[in-house]
Symmetry: C2
């Protein structure tokens, strides 16, 4: 930082002395309003995230604020309002292709509600226990959990009146706030279409054991196949990444007496790995020799090289619903728990023969 | 939230009444220590992120804390210590494939330094102006800027003694803290290898105009080509996404009298789009008819379907260096500005003919 090259900050800067400014007095928004020659409410609007104020007004107010060394202190304010304007987002798998999209959407929606995302990026979904104390310490207004929480973890948020909304997961047997893509319907749609197209030798590449979403997709797949009288379907487990999808197909081919006609993958990234294993390692054509389906509808699933047949999640609408549920409960803690289950959309790529 | 099904939180919970607890008294770590039968410093260690304490000790202290309704209040503490333990990360392009990896690494490193990432995900790199007031309001300990800042924006952080470290960019002519992958050397390496392999008809798919990194890569590419006597290289501009890489090749083919032998792309994602345009739209083989190179070394650049010849950035080491620079300056504001420029690694995929 070129600090030495710049004028030292005025001693009275409110940032550095939150409880005493120039003349031992706090610099307030009224001082800024007076210096800028505008109303105090105009100053508020300029600093409030999403507040309505024109560019000229903002420039004028900001100049006056700079001159007086004024910064509205969100942290000090939070002690008075009991609002930190922070929302904790607990998320894992940031290097997958799906969760970055989720995070980006959640962050955009949070801003629109004047909230800021405090990021808890976990190496694995089951690592949440180590960070839960920290979530508490930041006095967040609410929590979005895109990871699994135990009942005990959820209750410790409840005790502190911190509302929680689950993203794409929920807890069984107790009412919670949750926004999900319909995993079950999605998986059933895929299986039904594949069955109707004449496929009978199915196989599955599941996600990691601690993935709630993945387990649900696999269970729904096997249930639907069971309804069609198809049992004993070989299942191998991957880690949601490209390489494990690729290895997954190799394992499946070794397992079965006859090679599978269909590989149902718990997410798109594994489906892409599986397609590449078929094409580049085993010399199979997709979808003629092997049909591969995924789940999520991430960007690369639309690339000309793969065009994955998949269930696309309405991520943007899911993020919107998540923030709406959460803000409603931050503003009105007595609102009852609610689940919103949004339908996914079957995307007919060209990685599966569907007729 | 199943709030109605649970016991109401004790009225004295410190979370809800930060300035007064049970008996009108603040519940302190001493109370927790007494109840748990451990020392007060043991309680501190249990709550301090990264503090050393065994699992048993943690469980015991946490139980006592729950019973007393004690949560260390990071926000109240920040008013005393002048440390919020928050680091603002300004980032854009979260739906690209590169920045999620960066964010994931920065978040992991920040946790290791007991800091938490406050996320400012911008739609475009040039949108930073609208969020800078908010960054200030949260009294962050420091800023990591993976977006462009103006001199004026940087100075307003300086005035408030908030250290800033740039990630993969910097400001010309004034000393700043910055961690970069060596864009110039990377681009020169690629061009030199391609030239040595006999390629002469080069073309470029650049990034968006407001991308500092992209502009640097393109300039270095054209400079190096100029040194080889190659001028008038056609350049089209993309938006860092797959589709614009694909469209980019279509534009280049129309522009040139003879089709290019090489497309140098400002990132991997556009390189992948460009490869697919060659293969699926134009019926060209890669690398025999067209060599395509990218930059970054993102996950999909290693897929069997593309295997992009590229410069891989040492993202993990870059994140580590960024946090080290930042924490040093948070702890010791008088440290002089420093740039660290880490070399990228040439990855010889099979998207370019290099001999």
């Amino acid at each position: 930082m070129p600090r030495s090259k710049h004028k030292p900050a005025p001693e009275s800067s409110q940032t550095n002395e939150p409880l005493g400014g120039r003349d031992g007095r706090v610099v307030t928004s009224y001082d800024v309003a007076r210096r800028a020659g505008v109303s105090q409410s105009a100053v508020s609007r300029c600093f409030k995230p999403g507040g309505s104020a024109g560019a000229k007004m903002r420039a004028r107010v900001r100049r006056a604020a700079e001159q007086l060394g004024y910064t509205p202190n969100a942290i000090a304010r939070s002690l008075i309002t009991r609002r930190s304007n922070l929302i904790a987002v607990l998320i894992s798998n940031l290097t997958s292709l799906y969760y970055p999209e989720v995070l980006s959407e959640l962050s955009a929606r949070a801003s629109a509600h004047s909230e800021r995302v405090l990021l808890f990026a976990l190496p694995n979904e089951s690592d949440v226990d180590q960070t839960i104390d920290q979530v508490m310490q930041y006095q967040v207004d609410g929590v979005i959990a895109a990871v699994r929480l135990s009942l005990e973890q959820l209750e410790s948020f409840n005790r502190r009146h911190i509302p929680v909304v689950f993203f794409n997961r929920f807890l069984r047997d107790i009412p919670v706030n949750s926004v999900c893509c319909d995993q079950v319907d999605g998986a059933r749609m895929l299986v039904t279409r594949l069955y109707d197209a004449g496929h009978r030798r199915f196989s599955v590449i599941a996600g990691p054991k601690d993935s709630v979403v993945g387990e649900e997709r696999v269970r729904a797949t096997l249930d639907r196949l069971g309804e069609f009288g198809i049992r004993g379907v070989p299942v191998v487990r991957g880690n949601y990444d490209y390489e494990s999808g690729r290895q997954g197909l190799h394992q499946l081919v070794k397992l079965a007496h006859k090679p599978p006609q269909v590989a149902v993958c718990a997410n798109d990234l594994m489906a892409i790995g599986c397609i590449d294993a078929a094409r580049f390692d085993l010399g199979l054509t997709v979808p003629n020799d092997l049909s591969v389906v995924g789940f999520d509808g991430v960007g690369p699933s639309t690339w000309a090289s793969h065009r994955v047949t998949t269930i696309r999640q309405p991520v943007s609408r899911m993020a919107e619903a998540t923030l709406t549920l959460l803000m409603d409960r931050i503003n009105n803690p007595s609102m009852p728990p609610e689940k919103r289950i949004l339908a996914g959309q079957l995307i007919e790529g060209n990685s599966a023969r569907l007729s």
